[in-house]
Point group: C2
Chain length 334, copies 2
């Protein structure tokens, strides 16, 4: 009988899920709101409603299949424990709450969902790790034993694969490349409470910050100067770069420099065969790939020079997050 | 029958080797000169003489045993290929040589030695990776699946273990933490040809450079001011620190700051259970451990805070390099 997996992508706004086979073909998909359940005490209702919607989707197919498992991508997910732990934007304390014990915000998501599906294998990991496994199972990393995935969204996520296995680390939280500190002198303030983290430079918000810094620093005219900070979106920089806008081009050069340097450092640790760029910023194509590649090689230790491929992800597209989450199960079955 | 392994440690001056059992007990050891064979064309004679000396040692034991393999630690060793590739200080070109094709300096060491021992399993890796496996097989990392080893000698070497396996990378050269760039503004010149590498700050030569920088920067009296650069040895800084010498104490604080910061960045990539410090500088005990620990936690992303142990190696001592090399075989047999 055909085997399918449910892939679930939990974001701050919505939770999307779909039925996927081992080739990465999507048979049905659906979505529920996540933000309807903002507080700690909303979590049980969230799980209940999500599982109901998943059952409805699972029952909607017109052929028989075996449900091989449920793979979930979620923020602050601990692969080993099957939990989501103190996520910044999910199931928060109410402002007026007095019992702020953070242990109440360790959510046993894998168990809670699995038990509503007859105990089927259920695995969680963060969205960047899910995308990494998606790349390995369905994408351009098929057959690679050592590679790195860099996901460029609002922040910068990453996943590391060595010896054909995902590096989860002893606590299940490995792969936070966005939080290596790349600028120790006057570094930018990061959401994590520190300064100079890579994602404050290399991400949608990072390149936007760079644009504003450069509008202050450079004198060249730029169409970006007509847009207020709060109306500004990173995609406007790509559009301006296409027109040869000098501030936009310098934005990409600088972003590529920061990312290229960091990737040269990464090479010294895991010496990957390839590094994949995924998500928003990576869609800027040559504007981001060319400077990143140049600065990566420029900063590379001689041992690794001209050996490591910088490539676009093979699972880009609207369902990448669902695919990535579903790949967790196929990978675990190997 | 008892099984033994020959562990071989190839250094620039000497090659030491010994017969080791799976508990890390050393049954016999010997040494030949490496520097007697300085040039490319000396390599065959080196292999011949080394194997002869290894056979003599192997025959010297008074009981019967099975030779389970030969593990070799050497500079620039490629684990996957079994080669030593363009080592900086071994089997060099003569000054007057005209054929400088670097392919002539790829030495098929594993094969060349194995063939003289009836084809017994022979593995090579660099000395830091060998020490890492030694820590895993005989030392304080027994049973750990995710850890990092930092070897502090003339330079800074490292080995990364994730999911219970050594990370060699796609080319066999992973684990060069000494060459992440930690200072991009006026960084120190590194032997690799770049500037600001971690090992220019954190290593025996790194802390010596720090001492001279601090003697220029600080006004405090110091016994270190009586020693010329060429007479200076890193161990003098430990001795001075024991006496409360302010320059020596500041040397360690600064070295710990540079190392602690780097280890906090490392945590974001592999999230290890423990980080071990091995070799010369690590013997300074609290002088190096205390500031390193403090700055590591100070710079740590909240997810990893107060979770990662900073520990001394359990295989310190004069035979650590032979033990580490021998462990390659026991680890591969698992």
């Amino acid at each position: 009988m055909k085997k399918l997996v449910i892939g679930v992508d939990i974001g701050g706004i919505n939770t999307a899920f779909g039925l996927v086979d081992e080739n990465g073909d999507l048979y049905a998909e659906s979505v529920i709101s996540t933000k309807k359940y903002p507080y700690v005490e909303d979590y049980p209702a969230y799980v209940e409603d999500l599982c109901q919607a998943m059952h409805a989707l699972a029952d909607s197919l017109s052929f028989d299949y075996e449900l091989a498992g449920i793979g979930i991508g979620a923020p602050n997910a601990n692969y080993h424990a099957g939990t989501v732990e103190m996520p910044a934007n999910l199931w928060k304390f109410r402002r007026d709450e007095t019992d702020l014990d953070e242990n109440r915000r360790i959510f046993r998501l894998a168990e809670d969902i699995s038990s509503r599906f007859g105990g089927v294998r259920t695995l969680v990991t963060n969205d960047a790790n899910a995308a990494t496994i998606g790349e390995m199972v369905y994408g351009n990393a098929k057959g690679m034993r050592d590679f790195v995935m860099v996901t460029l969204g609002t922040g910068l996520g990453s996943g590391f694969v060595a010896n054909g296995e995902m590096i989860y680390g002893h606590d299940g939280f490995a792969g936070e490349l966005g939080h290596i500190i790349v600028e120790r002198h006057n570094g930018r303030e990061c959401g994590c409470g520190r300064y100079g983290c890579l994602e404050t430079y290399v991400s949608a918000t990072g390149i936007k910050r760079t644009a504003f810094e450069l509008m202050a620093k450079m004198s060249a005219p730029s169409r970006l100067r007509d847009i207020a900070f709060n109306d500004f979106d990173a995609s406007m920089i790509s559009a301006a770069a296409e027109q040869g806008d000098p501030v936009a081009l310098e934005c990409f050069r600088f972003t590529g420099e920061m990312l290229g340097r960091a990737l040269a450092d990464v090479a010294t640790i895991t010496s990957p065969e390839a590094i994949f760029l995924f998500g928003g910023l990576s869609k800027a194509g040559k504007f981001i790939f060319e400077p990143t590649q140049w600065y990566m090689e420029e900063n590379m230790l001689f041992v690794y020079k001209n050996k490591i491929k910088l490539l676009p992800s093979g699972i880009q597209g609207k369902n990448a997050a669902i695919l990535g989450a579903s790949a967790l199960i196929w990978q675990a079955e190997k």
